[in-house]
């Protein structure tokens, strides 16, 4: 008799897959995801297709309007700024710096925050309450303000502002991880895992972490939009990336002087920041709704 197993052929969505199915139903969030995907591609591949470098000056084309303007030139698609630098190249490189830096600092903050949060969630007593209350107090301060304080101590520069924002984002991750781990830790499936003989570390990595991944993704998208805004804000205030760097916030503050003559030099980097943050927020919000729908199913 042939051994047939139609259950193997049937498809059973895993929790991650279910979340994705829920996410797909939200069209606006899906549009946000496409937009975010476009930015990721732009950041990864964009610089290879650009004819000009972000710092190269074309002295014959100063304050050239974008190509769609009557006076524009197609060789500088987004026009040029006050000292003849190609704006398209600068915006693409700016996205690379702002988005890339935010991505890595969120990754780092998540790693550190989750480790500390997991430790705090699984420990009891004085140590846990010190971590909890101290960090909850820090969370009351906006991250940008915290970052400004840290930059004031460390000094200006892109690297320092990245450290500052990382440090400012960590408490959020700790808070959410600690909450989640603490909540899950009391559930019966953890007791069951312990009765299987699992150690605390194994319980965290094999039992609790699979349940946390989605929460972490949602938190990471929220943190990413905060990080992008903060990096550009610090750049704008001349506390982060410094002037020749094509960081989007620094570009905005550079272009302030020529804002009336060449409004595109301020509106295009601004639009880039806006679109990035909007798409990330849409994705994050869609993920959160999808997650809620899945859990309430």
């Amino acid at each position: 008799m042939p051994k047939s197993s139609f259950y193997d052929e049937e498809f059973y969505p895993s929790p991650v897959r279910q979340t994705w199915n829920e996410f797909q139903r939200n069209h606006i969030a899906l549009a946000g995801l496409w937009c975010l995907g476009f930015f990721v591609l732009l950041v990864l591949l964009g610089p290879w297709f650009l004819p000009f470098g972000p710092l190269a000056q074309n002295t014959e084309a100063i304050l050239l309007p974008p190509a769609w303007d009557a006076n524009g030139d197609v060789s500088h698609l987004f026009g040029t700024d006050g000292i003849g630098r190609d704006l398209l190249a600068r915006v693409v490189h700016g996205c690379q710096i702002t988005f890339g830096a935010s991505f890595f600092l969120v990754l780092l903050a998540m790693l550190v925050g989750c480790s500390i949060g997991a430790y705090a969630g699984m420990s009891r007593g004085l140590r846990a309450s010190i971590i909890n209350h101290l960090l909850d107090a820090i969370m009351a301060i906006p991250t940008l303000l915290l970052a400004i304080i840290i930059v004031a101590i460390l000094g200006t520069g892109l690297m320092n502002s990245m450290w500052a924002i990382t440090l400012a984002l960590i408490p959020q991750f700790i808070h959410h991880t600690r909450d989640m781990v603490g909540r899950e830790y009391r559930k019966e499936y953890v007791t069951a895992a312990r009765l299987d003989g699992a150690s605390d570390a194994r319980i965290f990595f094999h039992s609790i972490l699979p349940n946390m991944i989605e929460m972490l993704v949602v938190q990471a998208t929220m943190a990413l939009s905060v990080a992008i805004l903060d990096i550009s804000a610090l750049g704008f205030l001349n506390l982060g990336a410094q002037s020749p760097s094509p960081e989007l916030g620094a570009m905005l503050s550079d272009a302030l002087e020529t804002a009336y003559v060449a409004p595109w030099s301020i509106s295009l980097p601004g639009a880039a920041i806006f679109l990035m943050v909007l798409s990330i927020n849409l994705v994050g919000d869609g993920l959160r709704t999808a997650l809620k729908n899945r859990v309430n199913q």
Binding site: Y7, D8, S14, P15, E188, A192, D196, G197, P210
Partner: protein, 258 residues
Amino acid sequence: MNPLLTVSNLSYSKKDKSWFGKQEHFRLAPVSFELKAGETMAIMGENGSGKSLLAKLLVGVARPSAGEILLNGESLHDKRQRFQAIRMIFQHSKESLNPALTLGSLLEEPLILNTDLDARERKRKIEETLKLVGMLPEHQYFYRHMLSEGQRQRVAVARALILNPQVLVADEPFAALDPSVRSQTVNLLMKLQRDLGLGFIFISHNLGIVRHISDRILVLEAGQLVESGKTDVIFNWPKSDYTRRLIHAYQALITRDE
């Protein structure tokens, strides 16, 4: 015949540290009993009488303040041996299964931690165990939310059985099930117990089931052992007032139903 499980003077007290000095918070007075292989013992009592606590002490979730538990005449110092020999079925099967893992990886966990089987042997063991509790091998690809309550209970039983334990401790395993699934589960457990020769300790409020499947009964009141004995004796000639009340309450409920 030697007893499989010997519990002697097992007690538990929780000290409550408050500003006004230490207080004894809750206590399970010394309890002693023996369980033979293939025997079923029921633990009865009101809510908060220490039934679940006793179960937790037996499986090792909580640490007893005094007394000892002997398995086949040997004390249980080795944690690994204990986890393997005494397994627990939880009251809420839904919550005792991890929602993010497939049943396969859920059942694999105890095998990885307690046995030296390789991946293929583990898979075979999981399939065997699933069949044993009346499920399909394909259920290993399922997640918790795809199962009905009765199936979840079966998975919980499978999880307890997968390490070939000698004693099964169940905390109200039938409480959340509807009557037909409940009798299925009861029959499943009785059959498995007969086939595998397990010692079975369970907690239940349902005196009908207690009377149906248990050989002996332990009655607890507020952490004190009120009486213990054969099921027939306890039901027909209860010695203490408390037991009599429990039985009367149950019988009153039945006659009202009819």
